[in-house]
């Protein structure tokens, strides 16, 4: 299930079923080297997933820590009905959902950076991006995340997984621990709301999108 979910970070997360089972068993036995191995294999995948869902790197290291702590704690209950990468992705989604909820209640003091232009995937374009294109892309992404911010956390997650990650209802239902019918209803309203916001909101000016948080 959810084969599409385990894209990202190439070969570092690809484990055979037997190797995966062995790694899980060793982690369950609290073997520190196994926990290190799991962390090394999945850390980039986890960070990338969280980064894309959240749209900024404000508390990213805290979120990555939370995901792995939950994973190590929950491995004993992991039944193996999904691949390990999928299960970890599910934790990422739930951790991100929790953080979005918190952030809604307690907005941050300042806006933080949007997806960073310097990290853009060069494979997306044949030719290197011009500064203008880069600016345009950042502006568009900032506009998307601004519209996402205006949705309720549950709608936001569902819409993100469907429209941006391209997952189907069944996959989303597994990730958000819901049923496909509920997800379909939530998605129905989320799409209307999201695209309405995009349609009536002018794009973010370049100055707004130009914040950086990298030291």
């Amino acid at each position: 299930m959810l084969d599409r979910v385990k894209r990202e970070t190439g070969s570092s997360t690809t484990l055979g079923v037997a190797d995966e089972a062995d790694l899980i068993e060793r982690c369950r036995a609290h073997e520190r080297s196994a926990q290190d191995e799991l962390y090394h294999r999945f850390r980039r995948q986890v960070a990338a997933n969280l980064y894309r869902v959240m749209g900024d790197r404000g508390d990213l290291d805290d979120l990555v820590q939370e995901v792995f702590v939950i994973a190590f704690r929950g491995l004993e209950q992991f039944r193996g009905d999904a691949r390990l990468s999928t299960w970890i992705y599910r934790i990422c989604v739930n951790v991100a959902l929790g953080r979005i909820r918190t952030r809604k209640r307690r907005p941050t003091a300042i806006g933080v950076a949007d997806l960073d232009a310097a990290d853009a995937d060069p494979s997306l374009t044949d030719r290197p991006e011009t500064p203008h294109q880069s600016l345009e892309r950042r502006r568009d992404q900032a506009t998307v995340y601004r519209a996402l911010e205006l949705l309720s956390p549950k709608k936001r997650i569902v819409l993100y997984l469907h429209e941006i990650e391209g997952l189907d209802l069944k996959e989303i239902a597994y990730l958000v621990d819901s049923n496909p019918v509920t997800v379909r209803t939530r998605l129905f309203y989320a799409r209307r709301e999201f695209y309405k916001i995009l349609a009536i909101t002018p794009p973010i000016s370049t100055g707004d999108a130009d914040t950086e948080d990298d030291a």
């Binding site: 990202e8 970070t9 609290h30 520190r32 926990q35 962390y39 850390r43 980039r44 995948q45 960070a47 990338a48 980064y51 894309r52 790197r57 990213l60 290291d61 990555v64 820590q65 792995f68 702590v69 190590f72 704690r73 907005p107 941050t108 003091a109 300042i110 806006g111 933080v112 997806l115 960073d116 990290d119 853009a120 995937d121 494979s123 997306l124 892309r137 568009d140 992404q141 506009t143 998307v144 519209a147 429209e163 941006i164 990650e165 391209g166 799409r191 209307r192 999201f194 695209y195 309405k196 995009l198 349609a199 009536i200 909101t201 794009p203 914040t211 950086e212 948080d213 990298d214 030291a215």
Partner: protein, 506 residues
């Protein structure tokens, strides 16, 4: 045709609309500026989905994150093991109580009916044995209570034990009668799995009694104590002058100076008493008694948030002792900890705050007990930002011996560059103070003072601001954002590039 619903444009972009419908939508948009605008915006936003989806992972301080994960997981596991260890005992006590109650009920029922238990069971009658002359039975001699021992976990500055500065401080067994004194630093001593005390600067403590039945500590100066739940019969007393502090299972601080006694309790409960009275000091409360004061309830005050934080920061350092380890050792947890850990010396030229595996341990130079393995050490710079110093490997002690430990020297922090000083000056003199005052107007009107903003800022050689982040503030988000906007408008001239943290008191 009615206006096109915005999500229909997204469907069209994703190819979920047939050609005829798409053509009709486009025809409508050609004559409707509102729909045309919506179409363009959604098309543009949808095009960025692919870029978002393929965005790679950002770089993070992976090692620091890993250290924090391990710390969190191992702490959780240790607590769970401790709970599991206690649970069977509780179950056993419950079963025993139930069995006793059942037996009692049976006996009462039999006595009430006038039937002897032996008759009921059909047992043969036996004649009572002839009475034997009574011989006096001497009560057994009271057993000596098990002696406790303490082990040094962390030291900073000068520490003396029994009047000398021992070389084997970290391997020394601190038993009843030991006297520990500190100079400018502090020393943390663990005396059970999760119980420890930390002696503050210029303080002295005597372990007057230190066994399984009672612990009596005589203190002069400041001592922070954390006591895990004790055996029901064990008493834990701290004697401060003519006052006695009795512990129930808690974390607290006692300060005894020139006859004045202060007892502050972070959590749990302590009882403070003198010849005339007694008062209980609960969580987040303190009692302050001058030499002439008697102990009365009206001297108990709540702790401020800063005081509670101060107590939290002064929590004595304890290392985990797994029961399995302790059981395998002849002298219990003490041996397990002594042989399963090693001292690590962190040397610095000047006082620096340090962190090991993501846990703040206070000011170095210091010596601290750590578990064997590889540890990441970070030290704070002048701005309070922790930077990684390096890894240090602490060897596993050989069985039956103690480790000599490891040493890490933290290089002196480079002096602030001329660039930073110049840029700081430009920031402090160049920002519009009138605008800052405008931002602060509502705060000032509320009568709030002493507010601050900590920003992190980078300026390049041309004077352009690379980034400007508000790291910490006690202002509302809108006010902090307003102050940040003012700082962003500071014009830096060309000069040396610099990045630094600045605290602005507003």
């Amino acid at each position: 045709m009615k206006h096109v619903a915005p999500h229909r444009w997204a469907d069209a972009e994703a190819g979920r609309v047939d050609a005829a419908a798409r053509a009709a939508m486009d025809r409508h948009a050609d004559g409707c500026s509102r729909c045309a605008r919506a179409r363009d915006r959604i098309k543009q936003a949808s095009a960025s989905f692919a870029a978002i989806k393929s965005h790679p992972a950002p770089e993070l301080p992976w090692d620091a994150v890993r250290a924090r994960i391990h710390w969190s997981v191992s702490t959780e596991r240790r607590e769970r093991l401790a709970l599991e260890e206690r649970a069977p005992a509780r179950r056993w006590i419950g079963t025993l109580a139930l069995a006793t109650a059942a037996a009692g009920a049976l006996v009462i029922a039999l006595v009430t009916d006038g039937v002897r238990p032996a008759q009921l069971a059909g047992a043969p009658r036996t004649t009572a044995p002839a009475e034997q002359p009574q011989t006096p039975v001497m009560p057994p001699a009271p057993a000596e209570p098990t002696a406790l021992a303490g082990l040094v976990n962390r030291t900073t500055g000068d520490v003396m034990i029994d009047g000398i500065r021992p070389d084997d401080l970290f391997a020394r067994r601190l038993v009843a009668g030991s006297v520990i004194a500190t100079g400018d630093g502090r020393v943390d001593i663990q005396f059970a799995d999760a119980s420890a005390f930390a002696l503050g600067p210029r303080s002295m403590i005597e372990l007057r009694r230190f066994d399984a039945d009672a612990i009596e500590l005589v203190v002069e100066g400041t001592v922070d104590i954390e006591v895990a739940p004790r055996a029901p019969h064990q008493r834990f007393l701290v004697l401060a002058g003519d006052r006695t502090i009795e512990v129930r299972g808690t974390q607290f601080r006692v300060r005894q100076e020139a006859g004045n006694t202060t007892v502050a309790c972070r959590h749990g409960l302590v009882a403070v008493r003198d010849a005339k009275g007694q008062v209980d000091v609960g969580a987040a409360r303190r009692v302050e008694l001058a030499a002439a004061h008697t102990v009365t309830i009206d001297r108990v005050r709540p702790l401020s948030v800063d005081e509670v934080n101060d107590l939290a920061a002064a929590t004595p350092l304890t290392l985990p002792v797994f029961d399995r380890m302790a059981r395998s050792q002849a002298n219990g947890w003490f041996g397990a900890l002594l042989e399963g850990s090693a001292p690590l010396e962190i040397a610095t030229a000047s006082r620096r705050e340090v962190r090991i595996n993501g846990v703040e341990l206070g000011s170095a130079p210091m010596r601290v007990r750590v578990m064997p393995g590889r540890h990441m050490v970070e030290a704070a710079d002048a701005a309070g930002r922790f930077r990684r110093v390096g890894w240090v490997d602490v060897a596993t002690p050989r069985t039956g011996s103690t480790s000599q430990g490891s040493r890490l020297e933290i290089p002196a922090e480079p002096r602030p560059t001329r660039g930073v000083q110049e840029r700081r000056r430009q920031l402090l003199t160049g920002h519009d103070k009138a605008r800052v005052a405008l931002c602060m107007r509502s705060i000032a009107k509320s009568g709030l003072t002493g507010t601050y903003v900590v920003v992190e800022i980078a300026v390049d050689g041309a004077g352009a601001i690379g980034f400007l982040n508000v790291l910490d503030t006690d202002l509302p988000s809108t006010t902090a954002s307003c102050v940040r906007d003012v700082l962003v408008d500071v014009r830096f001239g060309s000069g040396a590039p610099a990045s630094w943290r600045e605290r602005l008191d507003l």
